[in-house]
Symmetry: C2
Subunit: 398 residues, 2 copies
């Protein structure tokens, strides 16, 4: 599913060799897990003190990798600083990648992860793209499950609360030649987090940005690499100075809409002649992050929206189309999608000195579909509904 | 000089605000330096055992920075691992940048750095672009000078031998929100290195690469960020599998030649009608690293090559032009330029199944200009010649 649409000569080229690279060495093996428990388990913070990614659970998972040997012993151990040679290639050449996923305490008192197979698939693609080692996805899911289970008292309870999971891989070769890392460290840290919007949705103002370019064909914008993030902060600060919270990233002379901040972007249009609505997002052409939430939204929308009333399209669309259709009253709503907020409604887009107004429901902070999508996904995440095998139980607290 | 040609709306936009950011805090102050000496000074390795960036001198320089406080106490202390929270933003979001420069033991027994002001200017530009703190260039040059002086017995002696200096800056904020780092660490490590080509030049074969794109307008390809390096390794491995040592990076539908591997690219053409020669390199349009060696070559070539016989141009040129002019016998020579090798001659370029032959001097591994340029620069670096204030004395061993 993830790679559907991820077409073209750019992406295809990178799919070939590296996946098999680690096969000649020791595979990642969850049965080798060694657990060193913390001697001072912490108490959960009150829910209202949880700030995204600011506090972490008592333990972390680490696994070292070395060329010619493969994956070493997975260790769950007390959260602690990493000790690394200052020549380590992660500090110099951007050998780093990460994932973002969440675990939820369900209504029937289990802890589940949401579609972890998708994140692991993407993590392996990120690793292959920058010559870091790949691994067996299921084994890492099992290990992350153990890590969560180990700190299960720190998975917060309540609507919108969850455990944010941050798998990370870094190159640790400690020589300055620019080449394939021969040593790496995979680690996972977990942070109890609250709802992105504490008091319901808060729609954001975006600045459509064409002077800075987030991603390009033949680049790495579809991978979850550290490289894609630091360069986007300055344009965001600049947008903020002009009163916009995030960038709406445009690409090319056509000014295609690609992403919003660090999220995928969705727009809803309504044809004023036929009355038919269209949910649109950019296609996975190598410049778009292969978002798990994006995929989930497309999957559910295709199933749940009446095809007589709706079209769901992955296609190119431009800021000009948005501007023109807004002027014709054909812009219905818009939102970003990602793991942290699930959906983030958009109310305004600054472009060439004009502010394009994006409709919201009267007196509310989102459009109708944005609300529906948020509920669809939350119902599955919190176990109020079962969908396919999207929820994976990692601990049973009963 | 550095910013000449670094034109266009992309680059200009980023030049504005951030440079003044650190002024409200404590500036970097070399007089505060604290030195903690190693208790076991090492002996120099024999010259023939020096591998680029594999061994380091006894000491390192570290300086912490914190928002609202500014730069802390610079410390020269024994080379040792860094201890960092696994949530540090350098591991997740690519908050990292570096420089590469060299110190030389001159014929009159001094140790000099080559144009360190250029590297510091570029380091500040890199920092500003990813919202890391800027600093007073002269202060850091003084501190690096002290670091070199402290380990002066490890600066190797001999033709082509030098001390490679690696200033690095990383973001150390330990929360997972993607935002401007409020903590950073600047560190410098030094590695004694030998000549890039131990037995004289060795010309390389390049693969002209258009399926992967190193840099893009509105991106960060002109900055020395970690982000620009890891994504280039896989295309290099793929080129190597086909028998080419490096990528010749192309850009756009025109297939402009931009860089070679991690070096700037220079080509020499000769007009077969007029007999006039042209030294060409790509203009600094925001996609080209602002190489100090590149600038040095252009400066010296403009002074030393007879304008009746030579034109020196920073202009766009394409792989098609190279192919066509090679066919007409108008391609004279080509080389890459960078701190590590100074110049790296090119002998062949694979493009669309053909190998374009680049002439070399009969029985030699480079063209004539490549040789001249290497000598011009080495003479200045090793103090056989004084040029402007390109050499800065950091220690006198007499």
């Amino acid at each position: 599913m993830l790679s559907r649409g991820s077409i073209g000569r750019y992406s295809a080229f990178f799919a070939s060799k590296n996946f098999i690279r680690s096969l000649s060495n020791a595979p990642l093996d969850s049965t080798k897990l060694k657990i060193i428990s913390s001697t001072k388990p912490s108490k959960p913070k009150p829910n209202d003190q949880l700030v995204f990614g600011n506090t972490f659970t008592d333990h972390m998972l680490t696994i070292e990798w070395e060329a010619g040997k493969g994956w070493g012993t997975p260790e769950i151990k007390p959260y602690a600083n990493l000790s690394l040679d200052p020549a380590s290639c992660v500090f110099h050449y951007g050998f780093e990648l990460f994932e973002g996923m969440k675990a939820y305490r369900t209504n029937d008192n289990k802890i589940t992860m949401f579609r972890p197979d998708m994140n692991m698939k993407r993590m392996n693609k990120s690793a292959a793209r920058i010559c870091l080692p790949t691994f067996d996805s299921d084994e890492l899911i099992k290990l992350i499950g153990k890590l969560i289970e180990n700190d299960k008292h720190l998975v917060p309870e309540g609507k919108g609360y969850s455990l944010y999971i941050r798998p990370t891989m870094i190159g640790t070769t400690n020589t300055l030649g620019v080449s394939t890392p021969d040593k790496a460290l995979l680690f996972v840290i977990n942070s109890p987090v609250g709802p992105y919007y504490k008091t319901g949705f808060k729609a954001v103002k975006l600045e459509a940005t064409d002077y800075a370019t987030r991603a390009w064909p033949g680049g790495v914008g579809d991978k979850k690499l550290g490289a894609n993030y630091a360069p986007c902060i300055l344009p965001q600060l600049q947008a903020a100075e002009r009163g916009y919270q995030q960038n709406l990233w445009l690409f090319g002379p056509e000014k295609n809409i690609t992403e919003v901040g660090t999220m995928n972007a969705f727009f809803v249009f309504k044809d004023s002649k036929t009355g038919k609505k269209e949910l649109v997002t950019a296609p996975l052409d190598g410049t778009i992050l292969e978002g798990v939430t994006r995929d989930s939204i497309l999957t559910l929308a295709r199933e749940r929206l009446d095809p007589k009333e709706w079209e769901i399209n992955e296609r190119y669309y431009t800021i000009t189309e948005v501007e023109e259709r807004a002027a014709k009253g054909e812009l219905v709503e818009a939102f970003g999608s990602g793991t942290a907020a699930v959906v983030s409604p958009i109310k305004e887009i600054g472009w060439k000195g004009n502010d394009i107004q994006v409709p919201l429901l009267p007196g509310e902070q989102s459009g109708q579909l944005t609300k529906s999508v948020a509920n669809w996904i939350a119902d599955i995440q919190y176990g109020r509904e079962t969908y396919d095998n999207w929820s994976r139980v990692v601990a049973d607290l009963n």
